[in-house]
Subunit: 210 residues, 2 copies
Amino acid sequence: MAGYVSEAVIRRLPGYYRHLKELESEGVMQISSQGMGERMKLTASQIRQDINCFGGFGRQGYGYNVTELREHIGRILGIDRMHRMIIMGAGNIGRAVALSDSFPANGFQVIALFDTDPQKFGSTIGSSPVKDLESIEAFLAVQSVDIAVLAVPTATAQAVANRLWDNGIRAIWNFAPVDLKHPRETTVVNVHLEEGLEILSFKMKHKNNA
Amino acid sequence: MAGYVSEAVIRRLPGYYRHLKELESEGVMQISSQGMGERMKLTASQIRQDINCFGGFGRQGYGYNVTELREHIGRILGIDRMHRMIIMGAGNIGRAVALSDSFPANGFQVIALFDTDPQKFGSTIGSSPVKDLESIEAFLAVQSVDIAVLAVPTATAQAVANRLWDNGIRAIWNFAPVDLKHPRETTVVNVHLEEGLEILSFKMKHKNNA
DNA sequence: TAGATTGTTAATCGATTAACAATC
DNA sequence: TAGATTGTTAATCGATTAACAATC
C-alpha cells in the first residue's frame, strides 16, 4: 500500500471520485472492482491496483463501501477541506471560473479577481470583488490564499506568476498557453484548452485508421 | 514511419505545435531534437521517436526546419483548415468559448450558440447568434458543422449529445462532468475542469512525499 | 572531409493485466 | 460452509530511453 503514486493513477483519481459520487446519489451502497471497472471502462485489476496505492479499503467477498471509498478518495485528493482561490484576469475565462457553481460546490471558493482594467475595479463577478492587479502584493500580505487561477493574456502570464510565487502562492491553475517556469516547491496544473481542441481535430481526421 | 500512433504521442502533438510556433515567432529557423528536448523537457530520443511516427521530416547533421515541421504537425493535427463549431449552452463556459479569440486564430470558428432560455434567443455573443435549442435539428439540416461544444448542465448533457449524433455531428468537445455514451464512429474529447482542480489539490497536499 | 544529428533498432523501464492465495 | 472478491505477486505489454550506423 501507499508509497509512490504514478501520474497515471493521479489522473484517474478524480474519475473515481466522480463515479462514486454518482453511485451515492443513485443510492448504491456497495460496489466490486468488477462493477466499478465496467462503469469506468477500466479492468477490475486496475481498479484494485489503483485503490491499493492508498491502503486496503475493500473487504474480500464484499467489495467496497461506496460512501466510505468516496470519502477516502476525497481525503486523498485533499478536497475534504475548503480551498481559497483568487483569479488573475477578469476576462472570459476568469469570469467563467468565478461564475461557475460547481467549484464552490466542491469546496473551491473564489475570494477575489484581479485585473488591469480600471473600469472593472470595484465591480463584482458572482459574489467576488474585482481588484487592481497592482494591489495583489498588499492583498496577499493579509489574506490567506491556497490557489491562484491564471487567466491573464499569454504575454503577461509568466510575469504575473512570478509575482504570485514571490508573495507566497504555492499552487497555480494555469489557463495561459505557456509552460510556466516555476520554483520546484510550487505546483502548476495546466489547462491548455486549445490543445484539447487540436486533439479533437486530430482524432476526427484519423478516425478511419483506428 | 506512420502506422499506429499511441495516445501518449497524440497528447504531445499540440505541445510540439505550440513550441514550434513560438520558435518561429522568435525567428528561429532550425532546431535539433536535442534543442527541442531541452525546451519541452523531453528527451531528444523521444522527440525523434514521436516525429518519426509520421515520417522523416529531419535531416542528419542539421536537425529540423522549424516552419516546415510546424506545418507538417499542423497538417497531422488537421488544423490546416477551418473548423465550424456550434456551442450548446450559452452559460458561463459557452460564453467564454464563444468570446475567446484564440480559437478563431487557430481556425476554430463559432457559428452559433444554442440555449433553452428564451431571453437569450436572438442575442449575439461575440459575433455569433444565440438560438433556441429546439431549433438544432433544423439548423443542422442546412448548416455544415464540424464540432459541437457541449456546455449544457450535466443533467441534460447526454440527451443533448444524442440529438447531435442523430443529426450528423461526429465530434463533441465536452465540458460536462460526465462520460458520454457515444456511437463508435464519433469522437469525444472531455475537458472536465473540476478534475484539473482536484489534481492540483492532490499535488499540493502530497508535495513533500515527492 | 569531419562533425553533427537523424532514423531506427535494441534495451530498459514502468504501467497494465492476469492469476491466485487469503479471507470475508 | 461455499461463493465472492479482495490484496498482492508474477507475467505481459507498451512506452521511453539508449545506442549507433547511416548520412547530410
